[in-house]
Each structure stands twice: as structure tokens, then as C-alpha cells.
């Protein structure tokens, strides 16, 4: 199937993009790599009047090293993160996450910001940036704000982004030397969205003892808990964590999510 007949602009500045989004009354959509929006347009699940391409906005395109964090432009592709320098620990973790997303042809276009804004509960960046304690810089007509990845997502495919707001940067705190990280996604075929996923970060120096369960029906489930990882990974603990979700009645889903947590914990403690 083909998309509806939309119009298209590629503004060169952040201010121009925000202006266009603000004038849109909801019939305007930002577009980055088109790797999530493209299929939705082709299937006519989305029928916008105007697409605002954000891939020429300089603020979205760079990455920056700071002492305490790595700053990634929202328009940076999965492939660029996959190919990044892996001698530094946080970068290596980011490269590993990126390399598991979809396929190279998709990673060459798809962006970290587009992935977060799309907020598919089964998406990799959503779960991993939440577990890493990342923050997002959002810019809209009303100004800018910084929100945590955890609070950014309010439900499945739902975020706190205002219609005229863009994700501009993703701030990933650097992992401390003694920190432990593990991520596991369960999928039938390599590169697919997860059936279940989990990420674990223990970073005592930063006071982090976090497990995030993804591919639920809604926002990722964050467990900030100082219990030993082995206890967190128990089937009972996972069932309890999933009890407020739509998966609570699905014994198979609980089992698969428990497997994801167990394997993420194994990866973090190996």
C-alpha cells in the first residue's frame, strides 16, 4: 500500500522545525529515519498532511563527550552508535545495544531519537536508556526541558512529547569503573522486536541498582531495588513486577519475561 499524499519539508534549523510543528494542529509529523514512521505511512496507519524532516538540524546530528556523560544527538543513527569507539565502557555498551536493533539497512537510517519518540514497548533504546538512567533534552515552542527516559514514556507508543516538541539530545551518564551491565532480548529471529526484554544496571558509585523489564504492553517497568540480583531474577519477583500490567494473567508471557531478566542478570554478573 502507499501513503496518503503528504507534503514534506526539511528545515535547516531547530527553530524552523519547531515553528512548523507548532502550526500543525496535529496533522504535522516529525520524521527522522522513517524506519518506524515509514511502515506506518505505507500502511496508512498515519495520514499526515505534512512531514517535517529533522535530519538536517545540526543540534540533532552530533555526539559529544563530557566528563560525566555522553551526549548523543537525537538524529544519530543506530549504525553510527554501533560503529562507535568501543574502548570506552559506556560507548561499548551503546554499540552493543545498537548492533542488536533490526538489520544494518534499517540501522543505517533509524535514529535513537526516533526510536524513543515512537515508544514501542518492545524497542531496545527505550528499555536500555531507562536502565542507564539517561535523560532527554526536549525543545518546543514553550522552551526546553530535561526529562528522564523513565518518565518520558507514559504508555505503549505514548510519550510526554508535546505536538511541537522534539527530542534534541540523549544524555547517557558514564558507567562507573566497577559497574555491572546486562541486557537481554528474547526474540525468535535476530533483529526483531523483543517478545520480552530486560536490562540490569548495578552502579554502586552512582547509587544505581536497577532492573528494567521491557516489551510489556505499556511503559517499561522500573525496579529500583537493592535486593541481590539473584532474587530480582526469580520468577516470583518478575510476576510481582508484572502484576499491574496487562501481562499479569498471561503465564507464558511472565515466564518469557522472567527468562529475559535471568539472562540479563547473568550477563551483568558474568
Amino acid at each position: 500500500m502507499k501513503p496518503v499524499d503528504f507534503d514534506y519539508v526539511k528545515p535547516a534549523t531547530l527553530a524552523a522545525a519547531v515553528d512548523l510543528l507548532a502550526q500543525g494542529n496535529g496533522s504535522v509529523k516529525a520524521i527522522a529515519g522513517a524506519q518506524s514512521l515509514g511502515p506506518m505511512l505505507n500502511l496508512r496507519l498515519v495520514q499526515p498532511e505534512l512531514l517535517v524532516d529533522v535530519t538536517a538540524i545540526p543540534e540533532l546530528l552530533g555526539t559529544r563527550e563530557e566528563a560525566e556523560r555522553i551526549v548523543i544527538g537525537a538524529g544519530v543513527t543506530h549504525a553510527r552508535l554501533e560503529d562507535g569507539d568501543t574502548s570506552e565502557r559506556t560507548r561499548a555498551v551503546l554499540a552493543q545495544i545498537a548492533s542488536g536493533i533490526a538489520y544494518r539497512a534499517v540501522r543505517n537510517r533509524g535514529t535513537i531519537g526516533g526510536s524513543l519518540a515512537h515508544a514501542d514497548p518492545a524497542a531496545d533504546w527505550l528499555v536500555c536508556t531507562t536502565a542507564l538512567g539517561a535523560e532527554l533534552l526536549l525543545v518546543g515552542a514553550a522552551g526546553q526541558r530535561i526529562v528522564s527516559a523513565a518518565e518520558f514514556v507514559v504508555g505503549g507508543f505514548e510519550t510526554m512529547l508535546a505536538p511541537d516538541e522534539l527530542i534534541v539530545e540523549v544524555h547517557v551518564p558514564r558507567l562507573s569503573a566497577g559497574s555491572r551491565w546486562g541486557y537481554y532480548k528474547v526474540c525468535r529471529k535476530r533483529g526483531e522486536f523483543a517478545d520480552a526484554s530486560a536490562a540490569v544496571l548495578v552502579d554502586d558509585a552512582r547509587g544505581f541498582h536497577r532492573c528494567v523489564i521491557g516489551a510489556t504492553s505499556g511503559r517499561p517497568i522500573v525496579i529500583d531495588d537493592s535486593r541481590p540480583l539473584s532474587e530480582l531474577a526469580g520468577a516470583a519477583a518478575v510476576a510481582e513486577a508484572l502484576s499491574p500490567t496487562a501481562l499479569a494473567a498471561d503465564a507464558f508471557a511472565i515466564q518469557v519475561h522472567a527468562a529475559a531478566v535471568r539472562r540479563a542478570v547473568t550477563a551483568a554478573t558474568a
Binding site: D5, K10, N42, L51, Y103, A105, V106, R109, G191
Partner: protein, 163 residues
């Protein structure tokens, strides 16, 4: 290609080394732009949602989905389709290896397979069977099966190492 759209505009690309300027509606994806406008039918359309890989082509030398890149968004860039790889050294070796290893039957998936395979050969000279399978997981073949395809790619990798 819906050139009748009020939103249609001139899109200029370099296609297989040749400048092309053609009126296209923004909703026209690269694969349609090339297939219907330039009669370059090598990029096949299977799913039009990024999953099957049959439409994979090169944009500035990198593989992308032709069904998920709108032509307007590629203004000024260089596109290479399977037709543009006739003289390409790696593609030529891959074609020979695909024949030798029986890596195709109907050929529907083959253009996308060759584009992705070429990227693997270029980017990952040390890939083993398992890595080739992982890297090729975004290209579906519905009739030949993957054994011959993986063998063909490994054959080219090994040949290049031996030289």
C-alpha cells in the same frame, strides 16, 4: 508515481553514476521512484514495511530500505541499485559465488541479498558463518533457503582473504 500530486516537486539524485531529475510526490519512496520513473526494476518490493529486504539498495554507498526512504528525503544523494553494480568487483564475485553455490531459485530476493552481501564483504572481512547469518537476517528468502546464500558469501570472503 503520483506526479499529479499538488505536492510533487523536482527530485535530483545521482542514480548509478548518472544525474537524474524527476518530478515526484513526497510520498514516492526510492524503490517506486527508480522502478516506475527510471525503469530500474532491480530493487524488488515485497512487504513495503522494512521487513523483507528485497528493496535494499545503496544510498551514498550504504545499504538502506528502498521502501522506507522517500525520494524527496534523498535529494542530492547518490543511489546505487543492483543494475549499477555490473562492473563492481565484489558484486561480480558474489554473482559467480551465488551461481556456484545455488544461492537462488526464483531470484525475487536476490537483488537485496547481493546488496546486503556486498556490504558484509566490505565491512566485515573476517565474518564467519554465524556472523554472516546474523548480518543477513534482514533479507528473507522464501524459496532457496539460506545455506547456499551463506556459503556463497563465505566463498567470496575466503577468496578475498586468500589474495
Amino acid at each position: 508515481m503520483s506526479t499529479a500530486s499538488p505536492n510533487a516537486r523536482l527530485v535530483s539524485l545521482t542514480v548509478n553514476g548518472r544525474p537524474v531529475a524527476r518530478l515526484a510526490a513526497p510520498r514516492t519512496h526510492l524503490a517506486d521512484f527508480l522502478r516506475e520513473g527510471e525503469l530500474l526494476t532491480g530493487a524488488h518490493l515485497g512487504c513495503e514495511q522494512g521487513v523483507c529486504g528485497a528493496c535494499t539498495l545503496l544510498l551514498d554507498g550504504e545499504p538502506v530500505r528502498g521502501c522506507l526512504a522517500y525520494a524527496v528525503a534523498c535529494e542530492g544523494r547518490a543511489v546505487t541499485t543492483i543494475e549499477g553494480l555490473d562492473q563492481d568487483e565484489i558484486a561480480a564475485r558474489l554473482r559467480e559465488a551465488f551461481t556456484a553455490e545455488h544461492a537462488l531459485q526464483c531470484g525475487f530476493c536476490t537483488p537485496g541479498m547481493l546488496i546486503s552481501a556486498r556490504d558484509v564483504v566490505e565491512r566485515l572481512p573476517d565474518a564467519d558463518d554465524a556472523r554472516v547469518r546474523v548480518e543477513m537476517s534482514g533479507n528473507l528468502c522464501r524459496c532457496t533457503g539460506y545455506v547456499g546464500i551463506v556459503k556463497a558469501i563465505r566463498r567470496v570472503l575466503e577468496d578475498r582473504k586468500a589474495r
